[in-house]
Symmetry: C2
DNA sequence: CTGTTAGCGCTTTCAC
DNA sequence: GTGAAAGCGCTAACAG
């Protein structure tokens, strides 16, 4: 493999000159520039990224941290879409993505810290945020550049989020307008900021319409169909009544559909269901699932752009920008009963 | 950020000594070893991965190349599962994963070559293989270490594959045993090795059972429901009869279900359907989809292990091992009509 | 505009 | 067992 010295020798210049044409410096004569370029081609020269990184003390790579339980890792394409978005801008701006999949928050914390301390990445994108997230705290303390997809409640950080409160609100209002009155909320892990925000939107809608806020109608589950199903069963067994459910994830909504089947409830007549994420395959459930469409791809795009901007403009770094993206309620059969049997 | 020199100074030794304790050399006195370790802790020292990489001329990072059209990128969790598998062993063996998502094969080729030439990765894992794959050819020529998930038809390469021929065979035999006689095959892009292998299994089953091989019953589509649907419609419109379909991907099978609905065909009575990948959510289709379960996670595990083995034992590198993993047909409602209305 | 000279932070002979 | 010195391949002042 040819090095910069080989090129220099062949072109009859010094390595620094070669370095300059690589960097696209303008204080270089067109003639030598061409000569160097010819030499590079001739030798099939490609600059060694590692050496560059060491000399410039940045790697041009961004770490993406994903922490999921094995069984639910990528059940919905949310993260995959986010990655696609990140990848698009990373490529366009000359960055690489290092993937860090961990099994739990502790594992995630240590891995991310490792990546940063080893200087293997210039910055990190976090895929989820929790209340009092230790990872965010650690990264802040370390003064590592990072952006969170989601929102941080405790301190200002760079973040890209979707309007979860509003989305939860809209989903609930939609159900109310369809005539449902006893709406349950199926929450994911209770320390996830997304889940909390969506729930607040839900509560807000109920309060605004003068409906009672029944705490027993709020079920906590993991992000899996099974958990959603069980949470609803328990609710029912405890004698809590409900005629609709806002699920903070499509998988949970699937659990609700399963629940309806088990108890012989018709959807949407006896039970209205709305989910979150608008997972493509949900069109095929019976009935098709109403769901809040999240701009996952765009979330990835914005997160990567935000991080790289911060990295490349150290002056702006201190400004902790928070970007919020809109979502859209996609109404389908699982929640549409106006004009149908009441 | 502390460097090796700082540690050396604090411990009162030379940098090389520190380097030795990092490497876990045994020719070092326990005493100085402890002293150095204390210094490292005190300074919160973490070796700079980039500097290490440069000095040792390998990066301990593996590139994972994924080339998908935007809309179908991660429609099924196959790749996500593969990543989880790769990630698990990468972590265990001290490697990192660099993600390279590209939009088309050409893009993929240039990106992969770039990663290798820049020495940003020690090796690559390719997510798909095509007939006469230019990427495989280029990488071979470059003598870059890589393993393909799939199979290479032209030359010996390190690969991890599932038994697609057998799986295609089993899926078809199953349909035959359920009494279907005019079985169609829905192929993905015709240059994908997976698709070809599965088709060969399909053909083999028909031939073995003495059934005619009707070329018109083989439809080529992209890996999307819409394409699957259209391919089948065209087949029908051309007057080709069929009472079952083996789809080389679940998404295609979904298209078949859609097709059945459009033409008022009952599944499984009038049309048997079996897909590939056993995508989790397919349990929720009506009827639930029969599908071939692929060990995607294990594919990732094996691929990563194979690559790292090759990297760490340069002697064994020349041995082009091919690993084949078993698959399993999961029979559900979409293909089970024995004992049902004929 | 171009060359010389130091590094970037770590590893690795080669001596002692 | 430990240190000195050279080098991995590139960049970036500093001169000229």
């Amino acid at each position: 493999m040819a090095t910069i010295k080989d090129v220099a020798k062949l072109a009859g210049v010094s390595p620094s000159t070669v370095s300059r044409v690589i960097a696209g410096s303008n204080r270089i004569s067109l003639e030598t520039k061409n000569r160097v370029q010819r030499a590079m081609e001739q030798l099939n020269y490609v600059p060694n990224a590692i050496a560059r990184s060491l000399a410039r003390s940045h790697t041009h790579t961004i770490g993406f941290a994903l922490s999921r339980r094995a069984d639910q890792a990528f059940s919905n394409p949310f993260f995959s879409e986010v990655m696609r978005g990140m990848s698009t801008v990373a490529q366009a701006r000359g960055y690489n993505i290092l993937l860090s999949i961990s099994l739990n928050p502790e594992d995630e914390l240590s891995k991310c810290l490792q990546l940063v301390r080893e200087r293997r990445v210039d910055g990190l994108i976090l895929s989820t945020s929790r209340v009092k997230d230790p990872l965010i705290a650690a990264l802040s303390e370390e003064e590592a550049p990072f952006v969170v997809i989601g929102r941080c409640m405790e301190r200002p950080v760079l973040s890209v989020n979707n309007d979860n409160v509003k989305a939860g609100y809209n989903a609930t209002v939609h159900l109310l307008e369809e005539g449902y009155r006893e709406i349950a909320y199926l929450s994911g892990a209770s320390d996830l900021v997304v889940t909390i925000d969506r729930m607040n939107g839900y509560k807000q809608a109920l309060i605004e319409r003068g409906l009672p806020l029944v705490e027993e109608r709020i079920g906590v589950a993991d992000f899996s169909e099974q958990d959603g199903y069980e949470a609803l069963c328990q609710m029912k067994e405890r004698g809590v009544s409900f005629d609709a459910v806002v699920a903070s994830d499509d998988l949970l909504a699937l659990g609700a559909l399963q629940f309806a089947e088990r108890y012989g409830l018709r959807v949407p007549e006896d039970l209205g269901v709305v989910g979150f994420n608008d997972t493509p395959l949900m069109v095929y459930t019976h009935p098709p699932l109403t769901s809040v469409r999240i701009l996952s791809y765009e979330l990835g795009v914005e997160a990567m752009d935000l991080l790289i901007d911060a990295l490349e403009n150290p002056d702006k770094k201190r400004l902790k920008k928070e970007i919020v993206l809109p979502s859209e309620l996609i109404v389908r059969g699982s929640s549409r009963r106006r004009g149908k049997a009441e």
